[in-house]
């Protein structure tokens, strides 16, 4: 897919701090560091999976990239036909015009569609807003898009309530893709759907990616789904990236203790699979009051003194495999072993 190594997006030291207000005067007493120094890059045509547990900042990262939030700091550099645009520096006007390059697919297809708009209006709205098409041309483009996501033209005059969750998610996808964006941030696009419908939507997203030359940032918590769609996976924990690697490499050969635990916690649909699970004690740290040193150290099985004081940086351990752990090159961590499941 991503054979030309052309970059589409580079994120450097992205930070998003939400102020905490307290008291009568609403004084700022601290910050929730939802995203704290995230750097990543996405190549043209690839899917980068961003996984982590709730509250780790993965959704906030996605929202900063399409600038739903105004990031506190950092650069978001978008490469567009030879031009380089720092999304974080765009003015409102520039941003509005630029938005057609990047779109978002949301988790909940029940709350993300306006119930008073028909499918035609919902999918056609972005075209109108950007002045791309109107009238008959708009209807034609909407009809084409609606067919591409597996709905029928007869559905155009209907309202969202008459559709199932899976169909609503298709409407959301059509709405995001109708203006032919280059980058799509998919924020947990299948986690609200039924099991049998999830796979249909995953397949649809993969088909559309190759048909429309899309680049995805796929934000999700389900490691199995992320692995299915992603070329590379980035693992996030309490506002920071802890590991980034090619997806099969990350699965077989995790280098960060948190990635190892996440993989081991995935429930396997195989009753013969009785691996010793690596139990993670405690709960994720509070991003308003993150521990000093490595944010993962209070839960880490391999913790040493240095982890409590020094923040590890994300370094490239082997080509393409980035880890933020003081002991990444020393630990022998347990990944996914394909051979074992086949004995069963």
């Amino acid at each position: 897919m991503a054979d030309d190594n052309e970059l589409l997006l580079e994120v450097n030291d992205l930070r998003m701090y939400f102020p905490i207000h307290k008291g009568l005067l609403r004084r700022t007493t601290g910050y929730v560091k939802a995203v704290d120094g995230v750097s990543l890059s996405i190549k043209k045509g690839e899917t980068l999976g961003l996984v982590g547990e709730s509250g780790c900042g993965k959704t906030t990262t996605g929202r900063c990239i399409v600038r739903v939030y105004q990031p506190t700091g950092g650069e978001i550099v978008f490469h567009e036909e030879g031009e380089i645009v720092d999304i974080n520096r765009l003015t409102r006007q520039e941003l509005k015009a630029f938005r057609r390059n990047m779109q978002m697919i949301f988790q909940d297809p029940f709350s993300s569609l306006n119930p008073r708009m028909t499918v035609l209006e919902l999918v056609g709205e972005p075209l109108l807003a950007h002045g791309i098409a109107r009238g008959q041309e708009l209807e034609d483009r909407v009809a084409e898009m609606v067919r591409a996501v597996g709905l029928r033209v007869e559905h155009l005059p209907r309202y969202p309530h008459s559709f199932s969750g899976g169909q609503r998610q298709r409407i959301g996808i059509a709405r995001a893709l109708v203006q032919r964006p280059k980058l799509v941030v998919c924020d947990e696009p299948v986690s609200a759907l039924d099991v049998s419908v999830q796979s249909q939507v995953v397949n649809l997203l993969q088909d559309l990616q190759s048909d429309l030359d899309l680049t995805y940032l796929f934000v999700a918590h389900d490691m199995s789904v992320v692995r299915q769609v992603s070329n590379r996976i980035a693992v996030m924990y309490v506002g920071k990236l802890v590991e980034v690697a090619e997806s099969e490499e990350l699965l077989r050969n995790p280098k960060h203790p948190y990635s190892e635990t996440l993989l081991s916690a995935v429930p396997r649909p195989n009753p013969h699979h009785h691996m010793q699970r690596l139990n993670l004690e405690g709960e994720p740290a509070d991003p308003a009051n993150a521990p000093p040193g490595c944010v993962f150290h209070p839960r880490c099985r391999y913790m040493e003194d240095i982890c409590q004081t020094e923040v590890p940086t994300l370094i490239e351990l082997t080509p393409g495999h980035h880890v933020a752990c003081h002991f990444a090159d020393q630990l022998a961590l347990q990944g996914i072993d394909y051979s074992r499941s086949h004995q069963a």
Partner: protein
């Protein structure tokens, strides 16, 4: 057959009478829950898995819901020999008898602990209330100590302080632990867990599953575990029932079901999910179509409109019966048995 069964459900039908028509949310479900064992019920939204367990505790709102047929037998004696079985389906849902059973003999853990704890009372007071209500001869001063013990047992740190916390002060995982502590405070014989880990993160889910299994071993209770996650069911269940549109379509021991799935729906579910410990497939093998609207269930087999093995003239003509194909493995599909629903009693009798 029922010598060690704790709960026997026979032909349960729970229907909802709505303006648009009758929704047959549970339409002829039968199963046994054996002492100390875990029955997993798996299915997609709208399959009737939650209504089934709500029927057991008589929590189905009426109107519009009604148990129109069937028995829910809760066996009393330790060896469970028929004598002293209570039919929960016959009890008054507001009566003293079912209220004495709820929380004491059968208790429940819900998906979202925030909505199942009252927000205005501390965790401790809610657990103490349960204990005082169901355990005779316990003084309120002792009840507090019992509540703290229960919180400690589910792995809550600083239980003496958390006992005075309000639900909103706890994280999702801690709330679910507190919920479990409350459910187990009266040592129930049956615990119903309705998607208890769905709202939790994977690492927290792993903790809660291990906790539930450890407590089950310690207390010796039976568990009905409802989920839509095949991975979770493989881990916790001894026996698995797969539900589709108000009926069980397949039931077997967990190993048999995953090694030898027979119903096309079960096979479809297992094939459609990504398996993390197998080679990656270029595409997932999705089940076609969507779960039909409850008012437009296809005639014959309810899965016939999505089934890759659909046989015209057979599957759309009659509903197949849930028939035993291999010992202990029951399937509702004409690929394996000719028996139609409704004829099964006659066949067995003759």
């Amino acid at each position: 057959m029922a010598h060690d069964s704790l709960l026997e459900i026979k032909n349960l039908m729970t229907h909802f009478h709505l303006h648009e028509g009758i929704v047959r949310a549970v339409d002829g479900v039968s199963f046994d829950v054996r002492r100390g064992q875990t029955l997993g019920i798996i299915g997609e939204s709208g399959c009737g898995k939650s209504v089934t367990v709500h029927s057991i505790l008589r929590l189905v709102p009426s109107p519009p819901g009604n148990i129109v047929d069937g028995q829910i037998l809760l066996h009393q004696g330790e060896n469970g020999m028929g004598a002293g079985a209570i039919d929960l389906a016959q009890l008054d849902p507001r009566g003293a008898q079912i209220r004495a059973i709820r929380g004491a003999e059968i208790s429940m853990v819900f998906q979202e602990p925030m909505t199942s704890f009252g927000p205005m009372h501390t965790i401790g007071n809610q657990i103490i209330e349960t204990i005082l209500l169901h355990q005779e001869g316990v003084e309120s001063s002792d009840a507090r100590a019992l509540a703290i013990d229960n919180l400690r047992r589910v792995g809550i740190p600083r239980a003496e302080q958390i006992v005075d916390a309000y639900p909103h002060q706890l994280s999702g995982g801690m709330r679910q632990r507190a919920m479990i502590a409350m459910a187990l405070s009266c040592t129930p014989r049956l615990l119903i867990a309705d998607e208890p880990t769905t709202a939790l993160d994977v690492t927290i889910q792993a903790q809660i599953l291990e906790l539930l299994m450890a407590l089950q071993e310690e207390v010796g209770m039976a568990v009905i575990f409802i989920t839509h996650n095949l991975g979770v069911i493989a881990e916790v269940a001894d026996e698995v029932a797969v539900m589709y549109l108000g009926r069980i379509v397949e039931q077997a021991s967990v190993n048999e079901l995953f090694d030898n799935p027979q119903h096309p729906y079960t096979q479809g579910l297992l094939n459609s999910i990504p398996h993390i410990d197998e080679e990656k497939l270029p595409r997932l093998r999705a089940i076609e179509g969507v779960v039909p609207d409850p008012y437009e269930i296809p005639s014959g087999c309810a899965f016939s409109d999505r089934c890759p093995s659909f046989m015209p003239g057979t599957c759309d003509r009659a509903m197949p019966a849930l028939d035993e194909t291999v010992s202990g493995h029951r399937v509702r599909c004409f690929l394996y048995s000719d028996v139609e629903e409704g004829l099964v009693e006659v066949e067995n009798g003759g």
